[in-house]
Amino acid sequence: MKAEQIAPTRGANPGEPEPVGSGSPGRPESTEGGSRRRGPLGTRARTAARLLPLVPAVLLLLVFLAGPVAWSFYGSFTNAALTGKEARNPQWVGLENYVTLFQDPVFPLALWLTVVFVVASAIIGQNFLGLGIALLMNRANRVVGSLVGLTVVAAWVLPEIVAAFVAYAYFSKDGTLNQVLSAFGMTGPNWLFSLPMLAIILANVWRGTAFSMMVYRAALNDVPIEITEAAMIDGAGGSKRLVLITIPMIKSSITTNLMLITLQTLSVFTLIWVMTAGGPGNQSTTLPVMAFQEAFRFSDIGYGTAIATVMLLIGAAFSVVYIRALRPGKG
């Protein structure tokens, strides 16, 4: 926003001193540099000089981000293995990994469990709980509000491995949850074995709600109070105000939040790995866990890579939807 305001003034004022290229710290001893000439060559040189500071970031992104992504596509067409001959000289096997993948009975299950995990823990759990807490905080006592904010954020700030151990202890057979239930005279199930999906979904809600809460707190702070007050004077009740005024006004934040938490939840690995390791059987094997197991437990890197590639494509599809929804002018 600000850049666009600045840009026209800069463009309209050709007399202003141009910053000379980043590579030349002193005054230009310009025998060869065409940075002051106005010809097409000069413009090009100037643009190049201006782009120079981007080089470290672009290199880093190309080597360590675009590289693995491209490698993921390539590797999924090979029979790379963890050890042995195929580890050193993987062969090109074409679509074999994908054929195996679509015939693998575990794959549709893993895909389904991933969808269940994302929808239940992120889209329903974190999103609605986060919005609810943010709304309640606006009405509640300030001290209570900030205390609640702290406790919710605590679960989110913890390192993921610690959060995973805590969740494991909480849901285990004689863990805290069942101790609390027995205090109320109920016998809780062995969560991690009989209801593994429910346990990891609840754990992920516990871990991730803070993010949605913070996004919605920031968004609600930006809703002008005059509008809500005007609606109140016109006789709109609390729930009506929420549905007709508040929700439409924070719509772009809702879109942002939904997409970000979807993508974050899609790549959750540690929590599930520590709590259930995908088990019992494959009852909590989501796609990241399946990719990891195929690659490292069954030492089939090529196959694991194919699963990772599928995840990458799902993520990319979500990203495109997200970016289109947030195009300038719409949000």
Partner: protein
Amino acid sequence: MSVATLAASVASPRKATAAALSNGILIVIALCFLLPLAWLILASLDPDASYRTQIPANPSFANYAAVLTPGLTFLPLWNSLLLSGGAAVATVVAAVLAAYPLSRYTMRFNKPFMYAILFGTCLPITAIMVPVYSLFVRLNLIDSMPASILFMAATSLPMAIWMTKNFMDSVPISLEEAAWVDGASAMTALRRVVVPLMRPGLGVVFIFVFIQAWGNFFVPFVLLLSPSKQPAAVSIYSFFGQYGAIAYGQLAAFSVLYSVPVILLYALVSRGMGASFTLSGAIKG
């Protein structure tokens, strides 16, 4: 309590009931969120801890004393510091340099680049650790600390560039123009004028990246193999004995020690973080 009564006396009775109800619900939610953490704190103080939550019979700092050795705690924490500090420094330097032309010049190149960056922030990178592992094996970078640092920096770079550009956009350009008139080059102006002005914003970006890297388990778990290089996130597995005997008390004490730095850092920037959450919602390139 006094605040509540004061608020109640000022507000209408209906509003007071709503506030009381909101307070009540929020306190219940807070208790639900706190409950799992009770085990962590209690077990860390209990020499006879199990994964049951219990009030320690003989509370002591024995667990802490037991884990505070070079091999168990100091080396892993030092590795964590190297890994996350290195990643955060690399990210912030690259992000500031990249954000400068993006923020200050209008170029045809800006928009597609920012869209690519936005796309990069979305990719589920941790989900593709398997291909990353095989790529690193090919390039002979497995078990290399610098390579892991750069990989972590690259994965957080898109978000960092996005945040840094937003922070930089709010630094007025007139100050730099004065510097240019005085004969400073663009890079001098960036270093002497822009960076000092956006120090709080850069602090937020730095700590944001640091906290993420500090807590990351999957990346070092896959990329770093030798115990002497593993950060705290991975070395925590040393509390799982070979025959399934888990030293719960020590595990909890170590977890607390490992978590404290990021909690403190978070407390330091929580205000600035709030600002970055609004920024991440405002997509105006």
